[in-house]
Amino acid sequence: MTNFRLPVRFGVRFGVLSLIAILTSVVCAPVSAQTFNLNAIGSVVSGLVEGARVSNISEAEEIQIGKEISARVLGAAPLVKNEAAQRYLNRVGTWVALHTERRQLPWRFGLIESPTINAFAAPGGIILVTRGLYASLENEAEMACVAAHEIAHVNMKHHLDLIQKGALTQAGAKLLEMRSGGNEIKQFAIGQGAEIFTRSLDRGAELDADSKALVYVAAAGYDPGACPAVMKRLAAMKADASSLAMLYKTHPAPADRAVRMEEDLGKLAGAPAGSGLRPELATKIK
């Protein structure tokens, strides 16, 4: 009898302790984890995210989100005090934008103080180009290429999609939609600020922007061959150069982009190789 009772009591205790172990694993784990992987949520709610993204943000809201995010970038890197260069960049950028699908957006281009080589496309049509990138350009067609790539991101709503996807993934798509009809998603998007530009779009989005940029540049009368020329020059710089670090982090390698662009150039109808202009820069900066 004694020999029989001991396993039963042990079994009960083992069962209780097992239950405690399971509950501890589930309940205490989130509290004890110091590093939290948001991707874990993504796998759970990813099915809910699809179909609930950009479509519920109006153009006016997109523009407002873009202004908020741009304000953050401009807080980190102010506008260059060179009115001639600012106006020149706006004339070229706007001319290119007029040859795109969303020509009606209030396109604004800003030259910002930073030695890094980069450009930022905020939703709604605000494009910010660093002094480092501007100074590396050899002609106006190359400036058009830079503007066109960023315009393509805006037109395809790449960053808007990224921040909205992040908002939905973090908070749970259905919960937010049910609670606020999407308003909290927009607030989250604005709250993301300039940090959005430190994240990578997927490789396909960058290459799509490059492909569209060639069409925009050629349609505006420039030589689209200037676009791979910019990439080749960047590729010739050291990849670990501090001025290129973020560009390499957030974009495919310039050499790969140049190859892809040259392949696309051969497929362009209406812009034979070597056609279009590469005007000299009207305003140069150092």
């Binding site: 939290f36 401009l74 396109w107 001025s243 362009l268």
Partner: protein, 108 residues
């Protein structure tokens, strides 16, 4: 009896350790955290800052600078001052000699 209590202690330690380990990749704990964030926004912010990031070390405009930047709404207003109208952009392009073209990708 003493042996049994020692076994219980080992089991409890295992439970706590496994709980912490599961938090790294467990979708269920992730979902629980997301629910917590929805109810308690401050905790949501804390979770957001725990996203994997890399240190850039870029001089002037790096990841940290962008993340911690204080908004400069006045600079956004200043952008308006430099904006080009469609008319002025077109006039400048014509003066440069740029000619509009209809361009598209050939269908394969």
């Amino acid at each position: 009896m003493l042996f049994m209590r020692f076994r219980h202690l080992l089991f409890a330690i295992f439970a706590l350790a496994s709980g912490a380990a599961m938090a790294q990749n467990n979708p269920l704990t992730g979902l629980l955290r997301s629910l917590t964030n929805t109810v308690a926004p401050d905790q949501g912010k804390a979770a957001a800052t725990n996203q994997p990031t890399s240190v850039m070390g870029v001089r002037g405009l790096d990841e940290v600078a962008l993340k911690d930047a204080t908004p400069a709404p006045a600079a956004v207003v200043e952008l308006e001052k430099y904006a080009a109208s469609a008319e002025s952009a077109t006039a400048a392009a014509k003066q440069t000699g740029l000619q509009e073209r209809t361009v598209s990708y050939q269908k394969p």
